[in-house]
């Protein structure tokens, strides 16, 4: 549950997307409107279903969680220390969901993602309680936004493509139907899409770094008129968000979540109090527990999300 909230302008990170301009990075031109794949990385799936991919930071192999809900790519405190990276103070405080603060950065002399490389990339230092032994940090949209990215969960692959392709000609894995959803990419490179939940229109953020889908109790009250007195709203216990914030978690038996023709029955959504969820968060965060059912192609430049079932072919 890593959505990062604060838009930070004073701390300028060098985008590894610029590495696409590097001669060492292949940028295949599309032929006959085929998409140009730059890299196909093996996914590691964490016990709760989040995914991580291999990168190299200062010649050290690491695994980063692919996190579309983040802003800047980050490295865990312990991994930063292991590389003896000197920390600097960021110009502004960042807050992960659960009000988990982050305010330091380090500079990696080299950063490699598949065949692409960048130098002097600033990485946000991620609080250690958010990290697990299997992973070293977060791959954020400041890097991904320079490409198209595809989550092929069924085959365990995270694919990276050039943005140089014909419009809407990206769903290469099936000749069957697929969903094509216009998405809004904001200043923080967060991806918002229109959805309907039990028939009510909402704006949802696609957050591959969140293990669960989440909304606030206030949204539930405001849009659905449902509060704690509703017997169908069940408190399922307490949980921890981003390793720190303890929160009460509720569940409500929603019938459907629809995304441009793709309908999810009985979507599994955690509902948490507004003080933990934060007042500036989207109405709904679609986490990896739902995304894992899909094969997703995110065209950042085209601002379009393409989806099929995970195993469509």
């Amino acid at each position: 549950m890593r959505i990062l909230l604060s838009v930070v302008l004073t701390m300028s990170l060098v985008s590894a997307a610029q590495a696409a301009d590097d001669p060492s990075a292949p940028s295949p031109a599309p032929t006959a409107c085929n998409v140009g794949r730059i890299a196909s990385l093996d996914m590691t799936m964490l016990p709760d279903g989040e995914i991580a991919v291999p990168v190299t930071v200062n010649d050290q192999e690491m695994k980063l969680i692919v996190d579309t809900g983040d802003i800047y790519s980050g490295i865990g405190e312990e991994s930063a220390d292991a590389l003896h990276l000197k920390r600097g103070i960021a110009g502004q405080m960042f807050y992960f969901l659960g009000n988990v603060p982050a305010y330091q950065y380090v500079e990696a002399h080299s950063f490699k993602l598949g065949p692409m490389s960048a130098s002097d990339l600033r990485l946000l230092v991620v609080p250690s309680q958010m990290m697990r032994p299997n992973v070293d940090g977060l791959l954020g949209p400041n890097v991904m936004k320079g490409f198209d990215v595809e989550f092929d969960f069924a085959h365990g692959k995270f694919n990276i493509f050039s943005q140089n392709h014909c419009p809407h000609a990206v769903v290469y894995w099936t000749k069957g139907n697929y969903a094509q959803v216009p998405m809004h990419v904001d200043d923080s490179w967060h991806i918002s899409v229109p959805v309907t939940l039990n028939g009510k229109p909402l704006t949802a953020v696609i957050d591959s770094g969140a293990d669960r889908s989440t909304m606030s109790l206030d949204t539930l009250k405001d849009i659905f008129g449902i509060d704690e007195k509703n017997p169908a709203l069940k408190q399922t216990g307490a949980g921890t968000i981003n390793g720190t914030a303890r929160t009460t978690i509720y569940r409500y038996p929603f019938d459907t979540l629809a995304l441009e023709g793709v309908t999810v029955k009985s979507p599994d959504i955690d509902i948490i109090p507004a003080e933990t969820y934060g007042t500036h968060n989207p109405q709904l965060i679609i986490g990896i527990n739902v995304l894992r059912q899909l094969r997703l192609y995110i065209a950042y430049k085209e601002q379009m999300l393409y989806a099929t079932s995970a195993e469509a072919n």
Partner: protein
Amino acid sequence: MRQFLAVLCVALCCTTARASTYSEFNAGIVAQSHDDWESAIAHFTTALAASDLVPAYRTTAYVDRGLAYQHKKQFDLAIADYTEALNNDPSYLEAYQFRAAAYVVADKIDLAIADITTLISHKPFMIDAYGARGEIYASQHNYDAAIADFSTIVGMTPKEPAGYEARGAVYRAKGDYDHAMDDDDKAIDLGAKHAVNYFERGLVYEAQGDYRHAVRDFESASDIAPKDDNVRLHLGLSTWEAGRFDDALKTFGVIKDSAKPEFVPYAALWMWLSMAKSGGDGDGAFKAAAGRYNGADWPRPIVDLYAGTGSVDAMLKAASDADTKKQAEKTCEANFYGGVWQDMHREMAAAKAMLSTAAAACPTYFIERTAAAAELKRLR
């Protein structure tokens, strides 16, 4: 979650005649997130039996099935799955962490320590790993090793209170009260104004015989955690040790009425001790309080002694136990409560002998150790 796939099939015209390996694997993760361990095990077992499971997912499936077994307290099966996961991918370090936890519950402490040590060799800056290993060492009374691990944490995070908190508790258990006090002070100075910090420092003051400061810290802890039986027990004990028997009686009275069952006989005993010391009717108070206690096992022989239906000899005999650790703990209590009982009956030589034994031989983590020292001080 398979309902969802079915809907997608309608919406997108894809075809899956039966649950695929990936959907079985995915269903396992979904079941796990709902704490449905049986279903998770079934789905992961099906996925693992298939030849087309993505190799990386095979590791995850073993780990997650291991977690499901662990929740079902089937620790051997859990350990076997974590081992398979590590055979499949030695870099899946979380499996070491989970396996170590399973080894601890299975009382295979050396193997647990070995796993955490391996984890540390891969992640030398992983503070939680040092913390976990330090806790295991401390639970085994290997205080020096625990102190070394917690010192590593202090070295890595000198401005965080957690390392000082943990190390201070181990210093106290070791009997190194000066270092314990330094660490407890540091943790509180760094802003960790948690009940446990005041409680820990109160224990150190108590062990040093500084009951006035001990009472002050236990009161601070009690203000923060008013329903913590252990805090209240020590608050009562330290006020008793300080000779404030009326105050002690009030505290033990509260414990007697609200504490967990295991605290009840001790609350009753301490009410008796407080009442008798303040000149009241100890017998009456004890019988009323002990009426709530109907256990047949230890500390029944102590309760019987104070109720007038047992004897010192019978109590000492009942303290023998095949488990040497339990025997030491029971003997400690028998000597303390027996010593006080002898004092009340003017058998001063026997009282001093038994209290001296308790003060010297009681484990450092037993309240009767400091109470015996306080009582001896008063007798002298």
